[in-house]
């Protein structure tokens, strides 16, 4: 499913359909996250990937254009880049522990410490929250700062020439270049 959606995005020219498909992709991956026990992540991915970012892409399309023009460039160079990267990825996976294996380093080294110590030290049921906000709370501060950066970035870029819109239906023909 995921692969099909991704390939459909490669082939499609209608940007509107692409926006929708990328939402679909996010929802599907959210489902996948649930099956892999990452409920928090699934929740976020659904809200962000299928919600906010789809809305943003649609908003951008409204301000730009709906269709992709066919490109004349040859796909050989990108294909080469992708294949080399893919080969490196596959090479890396060869020595990876099996999926779901309980004795992988990830499961034996630091991970269980969180589960054990969180009970005593933080004492809240959701371990993801306790790591997110306390053990690795500093990353989350960084994350908030990233959101803040994006916010002021967008304001710097496109809020300067704000047009006061009185009524939605009055300014449909106001599409002159700014």
């Amino acid at each position: 499913m995921l692969v099909l959606t991704a390939i459909a995005v490669v082939r499609m020219r209608s940007l509107f359909a692409i926006a929708m498909l990328s939402g679909v992709f996010s929802l599907l991956s959210a489902l996948l996250f649930v099956t892999m026990d990452a409920v928090d992540v699934a929740f976020t991915e659904a809200a962000v990937g299928a919600g906010i970012s789809t809305v943003l892409v649609l908003g951008t399309l409204a301000l730009t254009s709906r269709f992709e023009k066919p490109t004349k460039r040859s796909p050989m160079v990108p294909l080469f880049v992708v294949l080399v990267t893919g080969a490196a990825l596959i090479y890396g996976t060869l020595d990876m522990p099996n999926f779901g294996s309980p004795d992988a380093p990830v499961q034996t080294h630091v991970g269980p410490d969180y589960l054990e110590r969180s009970v005593e030290e933080i004492d809240i049921p959701n371990v993801v929250t306790s790591i997110l906000a306390s053990y690795r709370g500093y990353d989350t501060l960084g994350e908030t700062a990233v959101v803040f950066t994006a916010g002021i970035g967008v304001l710097l870029l496109i809020s300067g020439l704000r047009l006061r819109r009185r009524r939605d239906d009055e300014d449909e023909d106001e599409s002159e270049e700014v």
């Binding site: 992709e68 990825l89 060869l94 020595d95 099996n98 269980p112």
Partner: protein
């Protein structure tokens, strides 16, 4: 360094190979496609596939989501999956949406200035600007004369 291609090995790695394919599809969209919006969508697919790798490494067979019962009475029999990758990916998703929104904002500005969001057209316009500049300032190669 050897590894055996047992059935168990193949099944245990199938997910990583699948995610690699997804990643490469996303990367291909970013590199090969000329439409700027499509590039951003490709970037999203690329990143989401990376997130899947992270989440899948935290999964334990038979494990469950790392949330204890409300009364904190923990049953030692229950296996919980590793919560750390979840936390990392939560952060990464947020970073991803931040990048996406900035990229889209840039696209809006590019549309306003260049009146197109196709890379080929933008290159054409920029080449014209460079030629105009060279006409005034001497071109890159013969500028010394």
């Amino acid at each position: 360094m050897g590894f055996e291609l047992t059935q168990e090995y193949i099944l245990g790695h199938m997910n990583y190979w699948l995610f690699s394919v997804l990643m490469m599809t996303g990367l291909y969209i970013v590199v090969a496609k000329g439409n700027l919006v499509k590039k951003i969508v490709g970037l999203n697919i690329f990143q989401t596939s990376v997130f899947m790798v992270y989440i899948s490494m935290g999964k334990i067979t038979g494990g469950t989501a790392p949330i204890f019962p409300q009364d904190m009475e923990i049953d030692p029999e229950v296996v919980y999956s590793n919560p750390l990758p979840h936390v990392l990916i939560l952060t990464a998703i947020v970073v991803g949406i931040a990048t996406t929104s900035l990229g889209l904002a840039l696209i809006v500005r590019i549309q306003e200035e260049f009146n197109t969001i196709e890379e080929d057209d933008i290159l054409k316009i920029e080449r014209a600007i460079v030629q105009a500049e060279n006409a005034i300032h001497g071109d890159a190669m013969g500028g010394r004369a």
